[in-house]
Symmetry: C2
Subunit: 228 residues, 2 copies
């Protein structure tokens, strides 16, 4: 037992993990195995330990509950409405993560907890205020994409320009002109054209591209302007 002079709220982290699955943006949820909201789907997360930084907590909980590690993770917002947890006052620091779902999907599924990817258009009802958190994360992603490159975290190592365009269309929720999109991303100078093409497609195979990590990181810092 730990004693304090004044009452303290509990502190958790929760994480919204976005993954790209073909043409579909998905989010990773776990099914709760304890009260409250037992059996409901929720964002992965858990209590902060004393002596642990918030980032470390988010990463630890994510790995414990979903097996994901070494991924892009960024703080989103902190939520502290006293009634957001029916047990007591719990404050949560929310994060969001971006992963390449093809590489990370199996791990999540084989973990002890019941974890699964859900399409954003087909979400179950969520525990606590996790629906609100998810909505904020989605907005944040939509905002981020306008001033920073994001493809690196969500796409496989080699990808086609059409895949990259689909990613932007999904995040921004709007159609983009193919020619204008290509002109724009190529002018950013972060793409390296490989001499490989798609395999096993029933039509003309598209050329594969990679990101140039140095240029990519530079643009992450200095910012881009990617309007529609």
């Amino acid at each position: 037992m730990y004693q304090y002079k004044y009452a303290r709220p509990a502190l958790t982290t929760d994480c919204v993990v976005f993954g790209l699955d073909q043409d579909d943006l998905k989010v990773l949820l776990i099914q709760r195995d304890i009260q409250p909201f037992e059996g409901k789907w929720a964002l992965p997360g858990g209590f902060i330990q004393v002596g642990e930084s918030i980032d470390d907590c988010a990463r630890r909980e994510l790995e414990e509950e979903t097996g994901l590690h070494d991924i892009f993770l960024e703080q989103l917002y902190s939520y502290g409405q006293p009634d957001r947890d029916p047990r007591e006052h719990v404050i949560t620091v929310a994060y969001y993560a971006l992963v390449n779902l093809i590489e990370h999907a199996p791990k999540a599924a084989t973990d002890a907890r019941n974890a699964a990817w859900f399409s954003l258009d087909d979400l179950p009802s969520l525990a606590f205020d996790h629906q609100t958190i998810l909505e904020t994360a989605r907005q944040r992603l939509r905002g981020k994409v306008r001033y920073q490159p994001v493809g690196f975290e969500l796409l496989p190592e080699k990808f086609t320009l059409t895949q990259l365009q689909k990613l932007y269309e999904i995040i921004l929720e709007q159609k983009i002109d193919k020619r204008n999109f290509r002109k724009k991303v190529i002018k950013l100078g972060i793409l390296i054209e490989t001499d490989e093409v798609e395999q096993d497609v029933a039509h003309r195979a598209a050329r594969l591209y990679q990101f140039d990590p140095a240029h990519y990181q530079q643009l992450e810092k200095q910012g881009i302007n990617f309007e529609l």
Copy 2:
């Protein structure tokens, strides 16, 4: 005394209050009257109470320590490095606020605590990791100004276009062309030209403008694109 099964970090809010004083962006600090860092300058803030939302805590502490209330306040970031407070693990949710310093300056100064405005170029050494928090707030403000109008919170009710331009120059830390700036802000459609002019200036008096609150709030939501 309050008892918990597991150890809990303490939880605080801290607030970076920016105020515009003529041609100078300032920040409101308080001088600590208790250990640790007694006598050092710090951001206003304090412990979250159980049952109180984070926003409410930030507003309450701000009013208690500086007298400021009913101001623009937005969550910035949460800091939780275990060693950021020498006493124990304290997690803080940082906010930033924008105020019109001319209207708010006296209140802050007359409060019981020793509170004062400091120019950003002439800061004292700060307690805890408050220097880091302040730096992040400054960056955030610089980012915010590019996609949302900000003048309303920082300027007096009626202001000249030159004042507005100075504000942008201070936040963005760069010179802006007068004619291009005027074209740009006028095209935004959030300014109302009054039929008043500056008083008591030793040169031609500038016309005073106001913000159109409805258009302003609309642009806050839909976003603007204010590059340099």
